[in-house]
């Protein structure tokens, strides 16, 4: 049986689904930051991916 410590050491967490959070998908929270991200996309674009 896995202990809490074992579970905590997994990189991908166990997530409990809570349908009450659905409403935040459409509410424009953190909109100021999203606007800034869009501005960075517009002016800087994406990082260049190089193959090594």
């Amino acid at each position: 049986m896995k202990t809490i410590k074992d579970l905590n050491e997994k990189k991908i967490p166990i997530v409990r689904i809570d349908n009450s959070l659905e409403k935040y998908k459409t509410v424009p929270i953190f909109q100021e930051k999203v606007d800034k991200a869009n501005e960075v996309l517009k002016t800087v674009g994406l990082p260049k991916l190089t193959t090594k």
């Binding site: 809570d18 930051k33 960075v40 800087v44």
Partner: protein, 146 residues
């Protein structure tokens, strides 16, 4: 990341997460959201405190609950969860203030070797993306699963 972290709840698409910070200031609900941007596959990561009274979210409040490392570890675990299903996603983040951005930079720096095992990590400096390096003052960050 082998740090203690809080239990996460999320809606079923895993774009909005919630957890409860616990410390000297009591129990503070926090919300994490991966928001779509104008570019498909590029998401803004932000998190903040959820008011128990109004349900409103504030990403500028400094809660001083003595658990900032555990909070950051929990946010990182949400990034793992989100990018586990959106494996081509770019995840962008910046702080709401310079000091908050610095806190994020310190968090990435502290666990950089581990983070780089799974993610490409870039920092924004003087209008250009660079491979994230320790000790450099970036204004924003973006990660992508390898």
């Amino acid at each position: 990341m082998k740090l203690p972290r809080y239990e996460l709840k999320a809606e079923k698409s895993l774009r909005v997460f919630e957890f409860i910070s616990e410390g000297p200031k009591g129990k503070i609900p926090k919300l994490i959201k991966f928001s779509e941007t104008t570019l498909k596959g590029f998401y803004n990561l932000a998190f903040g405190d959820k008011s128990i009274e109004t349900g409103e979210i504030d990403d500028s409040v400094v809660s001083n609950n003595g658990d900032s490392e555990q909070v950051l570890a929990t946010v990182v675990s949400a990034v793992y969860s989100f990018t586990n299903q959106e494996d081509e996603a770019w995840v962008y983040a910046t702080g709401s203030t310079k000091s908050r951005t610095r806190l994020y930079r310190m968090g990435i720096t502290k666990y950089l070797d581990e983070v780089k095992q799974d993610f490409l990590v870039f920092g924004l400096r003087e209008g250009e993306w660079e491979d994230f390096e320790k000790g450099v003052d970036y204004t924003a960050f973006v990660v992508k699963r390898k």
